[in-house]
Symmetry: none
Subunit: 186 residues, 4 copies
DNA sequence: GATGAATGAGACTTCATTCAT
DNA sequence: GATGAATGAAGTCTCATTCAT
C-alpha cells in the first residue's frame, strides 16, 4: 500500500497528516485543498489517492485498526456483557472523536480493500461479542448483528446534533450509549 | 404563506411538490434543479424560496404540523409513559418517512419563522410529556429536555444507515426506538 | 407630462421622491427597487418611467430648471465676469450636491425632451455668459462653448475622487473651480 | 508576477492582451468575456486574475510604471515649474489614452501590491515636484498633495465627456490642463 | 514520479422586462 | 391603470479531474 520511494512515502505521510487536520477542523476534504496545504502538486495527491473517499478511508484506517485490536482484547474478557458494552463504548468514543470514522462507518461502499477488511473484522468481532453476551443471557434476543454499526452511528449522530462544540461530546456520547445499553440488556 | 394569485399559488404548490419528490429520491435540493423539473424559470423558484433551506423547511412543514398536533393529543393521554413513548414513536416515524424532517430537525438555525415556531412547540410538548412521565416515576432522571431531539435524530440516522431501501425503515426504526425506550424507563 | 388621474399623479410624485432618496443614498437606480420602496407594482413604475434614464432625468429636472433660472438671472448681472463665474459656481455646486445631475450632464443622449430642452437652454445661457465675458475681455479666447459642460463635469468628478464623504464636497468643488476660473481669466 | 511555465506565461500575456483590447473598446471588463475572447476556460482566467480589479490593475501596470519613470526624470529637471507641469501633462496624457488608468487612479482600494506601490511612488513624485515648484514660488499655496490625483482624474473625465471619439482627446486634454495649470501658477 | 496550469461543466444568483390577472 | 408574478439570459464563481511539462 505504501509506495516504495522514500520521497513518495514522505509525501504519502504528509498528505494523510494534512487530511487528518482538515477532518479534525471539520473542513470538507478537497484534494486540491489538501495539495495546497501540503505544499504539493494536485497531481501528486491524486496519484496517491484517486478519490476523496480513498484519502478519507486512509485517514480513518488507524482508528479502525485500533478498534479492531480492542475488539480482539474484548474477546478474552471474562464477563461477556462487560466485553460487549466495553467494545461498543470504544466504537462510539472513536466516532465522536474522529469525524472520518463516522463517514467511513456510515458509507455503504468502501474504496480501499483494507477498509472493507477492517470493517468486516470489526463487525465480526462485534457479532462474536454479541453472540457471547446473548448466550450468556445478558442481551435481549431481538438485536441483530446488522444493528450494531447503525446503532453506533446513530449514537454518534445524536451526539453531534446535541453538541455545541467538540468538547462536551464524549460525556454525551457515553450517556446516550449507557441508555441504549440498558435497553439492550436482557 | 401561500401567495394570493391563483397562478402563483399553483406554482408554489408545484415547486413544493417537485421538491418533495427530490427529497424523497434522496437527491440534494438545488433551486435550479427544482426549477428545471418544475418547468419554471429559476427566478420564479427564487421568488418563492430565496434559499434551499426555505424550500426544505416548507417541504417539511406539514410533517412538523402533524407532529405538533399529535403531541397535543398525547398530552390528554392518561398513561404518562404511553403518552411519552407514543409521541416519540410518531416523531421517529416521521423522520424515517421524510428525509426533509431529519435535516430540518438537525439544523441549528431555521430560516422560516413558522419552522422555528413548530420546532419550539414540538419541543415544548416533548418536554411536558417527559416531565409528566418523570413525575409519574416512569422515566429515569438523567434524561434532559435537550436530549429528546438529538436522540430521535440518532434513531432516524441509525435507521438510514441500516436500511437498504425505504421500505424496511419503519419496522427498523420502531425496533430501535423500543430498545432506547426500554433503556429510558425507570 | 404629469398624468391626469389623481392617483396616477400621486404615484408619479411618490416614485420620483423615492428615486430621489435612492440617488442621494448613492444606491444605483433600479426600477424594481424603486417599486418595492414605493410600495407600488413594478408595472406602475414602468408605466410612468419606461427606463432608468427617464426616471433619473426626471429626478434631475428640478435641479436643471433651477440652474436654467439662475442662468437667466446671471444675464442681467452688470459684471460680465462675475455673472459667468457665478453661473459656473452654481452649476458645479449643483453637480456635487446632486448625483443625478452629474450623470444626466455627462450623458451623451437624453431620453426626455424636457431634459434636452433644459440642457440646451443652460448651455445657451452659458454660451451667452461666456461670450459676454469674452467680449468684456475678461476671459481668454481659447475657451469654447462646448468646453463648459465637460469642464464642470470634470470639476465635479475631481471632487468625488477627492472626497471621502459628501460633507467636504462643497468647499473642495469651490476651491477647484476657483483655480480653474483663475486659469480662464484673461 | 508573470508565471513560470511557458504555456502559462503565454496565457497570462494573452489574457492581459485581450483585456487591454476590451478596455480600449470601452467594454466593461468581465472575466467570462475575457475567457471567451481569449479562447480559454473561465477557470484559467480566474486562476491568473481572481477579480476584475486584479486584471484591470495588471492592464494598467505598464502605464503606471511609465508614469513613475517619467516622474523620476522630472525630478532632475532644472526648472521646477516645467518639471511639475510636464509631469502632470504626462499623467493626463496617460489617462486619456488609457481608460484602465483612470479607473485604477480613481479607485480608493487596490488589490495588487504592485499597484499600490506604483501609485504611492507616483504620488510621492508628484508631491515632491509640487513642493519644489511651490518653494520656487511658481505655484500657489492653496494646492495640496491630495489634490493632484483628483484634479488629473477630473481633467481626464472632462476630456471623455467632451470627446466624441478617442482621436481628439489628446489635444483637448492638453488644452484643459493648460488652463488649469495657468490657474495654479503663482 | 511530481508538478500545477488548464479545463469547463454546473451551481448560484440577479435583474430588466413582459404580461396575465 | 395597477399589480406583481414570471421569465431566463447572463453574470459570478467553484471544483474535480486531466494532462502537458
Amino acid at each position: 500500500m505504501t509506495p516504495q520511494r522514500k520521497d513518495a512515502a514522505r509525501n504519502w505521510e504528509h498528505i494523510v497528516g494534512v487530511a487528518r487536520e482538515l477532518v479534525d477542523e471539520g473542513t470538507p476534504l478537497q484534494l486540491n485543498d489538501v495539495a495546497r496545504r501540503a505544499g504539493l502538486g494536485v497531481g501528486t495527491v491524486y496519484r496517491h489517492f484517486p478519490t476523496t473517499e480513498a484519502l478519507l478511508e486512509t485517514v480513518a484506517t488507524p482508528c479502525l485498526e485500533a478498534l479492531a485490536g480492542q475488539g480482539e482484547q474484548g474477546l478474552s474478557h471474562d464477563d461477556a456483557w462487560e466485553a460487549f458494552a466495553g467494545f461498543l463504548t470504544k466504537v462510539v468514543e472513536g466516532q465522536v472523536t474522529d469525524a472520518a470514522l463516522v463517514k467511513v462507518a456510515a458509507a455503504q461502499q468502501d474504496v480501499l480493500p483494507r477498509t472493507t477488511e477492517l470493517k468486516k473484522q470489526i463487525l465480526a468481532t462485534g457479532s462474536q461479542l454479541l453472540a457471547r453476551a446473548r448466550d450468556a443471557g445478558a442481551v435481549r434476543n431481538d438485536l441483530d448483528d446488522a444493528d450494531i454499526v447503525p446503532l453506533m452511528c446513530g449514537i454518534a449522530y445524536a451526539t453531534y446534533v446535541h453538541s455545541s462544540g467538540p468538547d462536551d461530546r464524549l460525556p454525551t456520547a457515553r450517556r446516550y450509549l449507557e441508555t441504549l445499553l440498558r435497553g439492550l440488556r436482557a
